[in-house]
Amino acid sequence: MPSFTRRVPSTTLPPPAGTHPSPSLSSLNLLPSGLPSLDDLLGGGIPLGSIFLVLAPDTQSSWSKLVERYWIAQGLISGQSSLVVGTDEELVKGCMWTEKSWRGGEESQSETEHEGDGGDEAEGKKIAWRYEKMGKFKTTVGGNGSNLSLTNTIPHDVLQSIHKTGQQSYIGLDDDLTTDATIGTSSSSNRLSMAISRIHDKLDKSDPKRAGRITIHELGGLEWGDEIREDQILRFIHSLKSIIRNKPISALITVPPQLIAGPTKESFVRKLSWMVDASVELKGFADDPTLPPLFPTTHGLLTLHSYPTSHTLLPSTLKHSTLLGVSQGSDGGGGAGENNLGFRLKRKKFVIETVHLGVEGGVGERSTGPPDVVAALSGTSTHHLPATTNTGEVEGVDKGHSGQNQNTQIGQEESGGGIGVDKPKGPEGDTKKKTKPRARVRFGGEEEMSVSVSTDNGKDQHRDHAHDSEHGHDHTHDHSHGDGQKKSSQRVQVRHDRPDLYEF
């Protein structure tokens, strides 16, 4: 035995089940949220004793509920205790679960979008350095062992056992309030105080070595009473923090959209983000129909308002997050700023990924008017983004599914191209192919197009009504469509690498 042996401190306790040490500080244990890409943004996970806030300001989607379900499911799989406040079993019953035939790492391999992983990756070129750690065409980060899949729901026998053993418990808000006369008279502060008291009592009796998760569902929503004031919500969060800080428990809070949507609520969102340890906002595109065509493969944009900063001088997120991209290169070079982030609901999982601006350059034209929502909804448009080589008003080619302008198929949320805003286009590589246009809108004086093209080039037909747009360039309408050959004078840009998009 060598004379120099490393003394391992005997006081280090193994992390509680289902947690892992932080990459920045081994004595700090982190809880995985169930979403590996989200964990990456948070610097590895949620530290024990912290509060994580998920904001979803769209009124028509339930992104925050999805994240809640991931959070709960991950805890249940790891054997941690779970406490849900503000709602009943319905939330847990709809949780996702692991793949039935989990074959370890193979699942995550098949899901990553690794196109063209060529040998020339290791060139050593420092282009787009902030994507250095991410592979070519890779927009998100892989799994860390949590294999929750959206194709499976939590099995019935698991549901029964978690309720029976008490691993899953609930705190409702509708119990009678008359029992405790010392609490103040107004009903909403009653419920908040009562919830805090009950959480406190519950956690007092819990096992100090077992990690646990709390989920506060729709804090400030209808269940919590009428006329909840902002300071009451913030006080609740402050109290909750003091209860869980010294315990191996973390909490996830969601807030109903009406409390946080709108420009006047910006300062409330900031206050919330300060009060908690980590805060993300998932803004889906449901409320703004002009956005989906610009980000064709994304379902919403994500903003990281705050990240865990306790226990380390340099927050783990800034040091380790690949998605955020605020890395400190070893040579200290090129702090070019952070990545834009969005999220997408895929068939089997929900991922957070980087959102790319179009290859052809996003801002080609000055926007001189507000976005035309009506046009976007009805599929007509008065604005075109120019192609790189022409000065006309031709569309760029990767308008994929957004080429439905001349018909009225508005069912899909992504319809409506050519928007009057200066926004970048979505990534070229991922254009979805939609069906060919079914109706043709004819304009007076315009010749009928004899070439039927799919999606992208269908815009030829209505270029005429771009006259009234305020672009100020020359609009030449060269509809040379005799034989379908694209002559050089025609303004449509043809994608030679995607002949499948065209029909000659």
């Binding site: 003091s242 010294n246 800034l318 955020l324």
Partner: protein, 272 residues
């Protein structure tokens, strides 16, 4: 003497800490938290200066967080039984929940109304000569239901006792409402600036303003610091001045695992 001392020297015997009987206000923003500035002061106080530190934790950060960080910086916290570091964590829990910790005064009185008297009574006995008192998180107090007027009265009361014992007062507050440049002006809510205005008017010290870059997050520079002297504390001679670093030419900083790199804007050779 830690990372901020050379750039922000105070007119006091130690230069790393404000002179006695003065206060220091540290404001920050959501994208650039100013905790590192507090760690610098605590590290100086516990390290070279050997002053007693009283930390009134309104934010609910918790002692373990500071233990980990200060150990990394090089000045570990004394053990919890030591009188040279006091952690007071005022609690907003309803009065029906009893706590055993004697350093956890309640912020709500028996009628569930916000009150700072108990916290004040808890702080004052710990004040000894030449200590450093940190009121950490006054914005959080504002947001959970205290009015800016109440908070400023509380600060004045504590400051009066601090001056009597030749101690130093440090306040932290969030100032996201302040404009970053003439073009980047956040939307203003009524009353948001009241607390900061009141505290600045108390004066007798200095204001450190930590803010983020208007161009967004970057790996190299995480934010800027500017220093603005307030009215002069009583007892400070005319020649001694608080450091003045204007917003037009601020210090920039970058957090690293063990320290903070601070450099005037536009320089940074060796760090960048």
């Amino acid at each position: 003497m830690t990372y901020l001392t050379t750039h922000l020297p105070f007119p006091s015997s130690s230069t790393s800490l404000p002179p006695p009987r003065s206060q220091l206000i540290i404001s920050d923003t959501l994208s650039s938290p100013g905790h590192f500035a507090v760690y610098h002061l605590v590290s100086s106080a516990l390290g070279k200066e050997k002053r007693k530190v009283i930390w009134v934790d309104f934010r609910g950060e918790g002692r373990s967080s500071w233990e980990a960080i200060l150990k990394k910086i090089g000045t570990p916290l004394p053990p919890s039984t030591s009188p040279s570091f006091i952690h007071i964590s005022p609690s907003s829990l309803p009065s029906s929940i009893k706590t055993t910790n004697k350093n956890a005064p309640k912020l709500l009185d028996n009628n569930q109304k916000p009150a700072l008297k108990e916290t004040y009574d808890n702080i004052i006995p710990h004040l000894t000569d030449g200590s450093l008192v940190i009121l950490d998180g006054l914005s959080e107090l504002d947001w959970i239901g205290f009015s800016p007027l109440e908070i400023s009265k509380f600060v004045r009361a504590v400051f009066a006792k601090v001056k009597l014992s030749n101690s130093i007062l440090v306040l932290t507050i969030h100032a996201d409402h302040l404009p970053l440049s003439s073009t980047v002006i956040p939307s203003k809510e009524a009353g948001e600036s009241e607390l900061l205005d009141r505290l600045l008017r108390i004066g007798q010290g200095c204001w450190w303003r930590v803010s983020h870059l208007p161009s967004g997050r970057s790996g190299d520079v995480m934010g800027e610091i500017s220093s603005h002297p307030l009215t002069k504390p009583i007892g400070l001679e005319g020649s001694q001045k608080f450091p003045y670093i204007p917003r037009s030419n601020p210090l920039q900083y970058r957090l690293e695992p063990n320290t903070v790199r601070v450099f005037p804007k536009g320089t940074g050779r060796g760090f960048l």
